[in-house]
């Protein structure tokens, strides 16, 4: 290690202003602090310690929590692929390999574009590179349909990082969830690639592996997509709760498997990274709205025919509840506010899903919409606390 330290010290002056690589200063600093603990100490003005868990560690924990989803996503992409081309006898190894090869380019593109912009922005503002994109960069491949062309993912990632994050001041200052902005951009800019039957199951080869022609009778529609086009008072192709729970259904990569999401949720809750209040209240809100919709079934809104449990297991609802709504930056921060925020996310997600014919899935829009309201909710909660205490103080003063 001594040798590495000496080497870094030797090349350091080249990255300082006036040096040969002054334009790469923030990149150098980023790698140096990645390798060694920075030797600068807190300023004399003091420092406020909330927790000894710094941002790097927080972000790494979320990455660990996302790994089950990532692995299940790869397996499921392969599973869907080999079933679509009529080779269901392909082994689990082959399925996973296909999924890995299909996901890898998306992950690379997402990180390359996002981190590239972060590095440039850090250099322009002479700031440290922050770790904020670490999680976003992995969330994007998990929520963007697997058939989305890579250049679209790149454009959307660039748009989201610049307009949803950097213009607001970078990591920790964004109003909207950056990964969801990426998806929303794709959703509205290239709707034909983001919904329908062709978006969610990869049929052609992944980096030269696999590939084939679709067997007869195959439909790549997601269960919710099928439900949305259902005609009549009963569901023609009911999805079994078991399939939805284990995750072998078409859908955006990360959202299909409830088991993987629950493992991720457990990791986040045990380590205390995510707020259990938000998570719980999103599910509560979703369940309440789904029950209400199910109590008033209607053939006009076929998604109301789904029973509440299936409703929560299908689509991106659970993934949004665990990984999106709990984003500490864009969500509500007060404890009461977190209950309100989460509950409304859940209600809105199911409301959009059931009663808006145009959008079979509503979790993304619900979270983004509530992101906009989170500061207002916090403001109201804080104000009502202030008023209550003021009243108490006045009452005590009068006695």
């Amino acid at each position: 290690m001594q040798f590495l330290r000496k080497y870094l010290n030797k090349i350091k002056p080249q990255f300082r202003p006036g040096g040969k690589f002054a334009k790469l200063e923030s990149v150098f600093d980023g790698f140096e602090t990645f390798l060694f603990t920075p030797n600068t100490t807190a300023s004399a003005r003091g420092v406020h310690v909330h927790d000894n868990n710094d941002m790097k560690r927080t972000m790494s924990t979320v990455i660990v929590a996302l790994l089950p989803c990532l692995l299940m996503a790869m397996l499921n992409i392969g599973y869907q692929h080999f079933h679509a081309i009529g080779q269901p006898e392909a082994g689990w190894g082959a399925m996973f390999l296909f999924g890995l090869l299909a996901m890898l380019p998306v992950i690379v593109v997402s990180y390359a574009v996002g981190l590239g912009i972060e590095f440039i922005a850090a250099q322009i503002h002479h700031k440290e590179i922050q770790e904020g994109f670490l999680v976003t960069g992995l969330l994007i491949p998990l929520i963007v349909p697997i058939n989305t062309p890579l250049w679209m993912t790149a454009v959307a990632t660039a748009f989201a990082v610049i307009f949803a994050k950097e213009v607001f001041g970078g990591t920790g200052m964004n109003i909207f969830n950056v990964a969801l902005i990426t998806r929303a951009f794709l959703f509205f800019a290239y709707p034909s690639k983001m919904s329908g039957d062709a978006a969610f199951v990869k049929v052609d080869s992944a980096l030269g592996y696999g590939g084939g022609t679709v067997v007869d009778g195959f439909s790549g529609a997601t269960p919710l997509g099928e439900v949305a086009t259902n005609v009549g008072d009963t569901l023609a192709h009911p999805t079994s709760l078991v399939d939805a729970f284990v995750g072998f259904i078409p859908g955006s990569p990360g959202e299909t498997s409830m088991i993987a999401i629950l493992i991720g949720a457990a990791i986040l809750l045990i380590t205390g990274i995510a707020s259990w209040r938000v998570m719980l209240s999103v599910f509560a809100g979703g369940f309440a709205m789904a029950s209400l919709a199910h109590a008033l079934p209607s053939a006009t809104y076929p998604a109301s025919l789904l029973d509440p449990c299936t409703q929560l297991c299908l689509g991106g609802f659970a993934f949004a509840a665990v990984f999106m709504a709990t984003d500490p930056v864009t969500g509500a921060r007060t404890k009461t506010g977190q209950y309100i925020y989460g509950f409304l996310v859940g209600v809105l997600a199911i409301l959009i899903r059931v009663y808006n014919g145009g959008y079979p899935e509503g979790a993304m829009l619900a979270v983004l919409f509530m992101n906009a309201f989170a500061p207002l909710i916090d403001y109201c909660v804080v104000q009502s606390n202030i008023n209550r205490r003021l009243k108490r103080a006045k009452a005590a003063g009068e006695q």
Partner: protein, 211 residues
């Protein structure tokens, strides 16, 4: 007073950049969002606003000493409304398709903040020639922004300019797709915001100090 005195030059040139009605005063945003999905309606809209603004400025400036202050807004509205109706009828007569596309927004020139702003702030206190230059200048300043926004929105959103295909077919064959979001109003806001960003970063005197 000379026809092109320094003051008159300022009345004409300031609105083009330093005192642009859209970028600096943030006026006329609604029509900037509504008519800029395509280049052609944006240009027609810009020309209509130039005509109405210049003429109403001149008319109000001519009668500025006879208008009682208490009813000046009503008088201004009557003048603007009359001019807008004329423009609208001319468009319907000679350019029916575009007038269909612009639909209600020609009529809404009456409520365009730039018009009332210029009449109140300039025409009521200045002579007709200066008011004319001011009207043309502000109209041009507005039109320039409309055209820039519409250029990017039509190019990226439809792949065309003035209705002609400019993005070649082989791009589409290789997987390029028009960006549907550019057609939607939110991207007009973001495009205007980007232009404001560029404009302010180039004009140091428009930037507030950071403290």
């Amino acid at each position: 007073m000379a026809l092109f005195s320094k003051r008159n030059k300022e009345a004409f040139f300031n609105p083009l950049s330093k005192d642009n009605p859209v970028l600096v005063q943030i006026l006329g945003i609604c029509s900037t969002l509504a008519v800029t999905a395509k280049l052609e309606p944006a240009i027609v809209m810009g020309i209509s606003v130039i005509c109405v603004l210049a003429l109403s400025n001149v008319i109000i400036s001519l009668i500025r000493k006879t208008i009682p202050t208490t009813i000046r807004i009503i008088v201004q509205l009557v003048v603007v409304a009359a001019l807008v109706i004329i423009v609208q009828q001319v468009l319907v007569a000679y350019s029916y398709d575009v007038s269909k596309q612009l639909s209600v927004f020609i009529g809404l020139i009456i409520t365009n903040c730039i018009l009332m702003g210029r009449l109140e702030a300039f025409a009521l206190n200045n002579g007709p020639w200066a008011s004319f230059l001011d009207g043309i200048g502000n109209g041009l300043g507005y039109t320039i922004i409309l055209v820039i926004v519409a250029f990017f929105r039509e190019l990226l959103g439809s792949g065309t300019l003035l209705g002609f295909q400019v993005i070649p077919q082989w791009c589409y064959d290789h997987g390029y797709m028009n960006n549907g979001l550019m057609i939607l109003p939110p991207m007009a806001l973001i495009t205007v915001a980007c232009i404001i960003w560029v404009h302010r970063s180039r004009n140091k005197d428009l930037q507030e100090s950071s403290n």
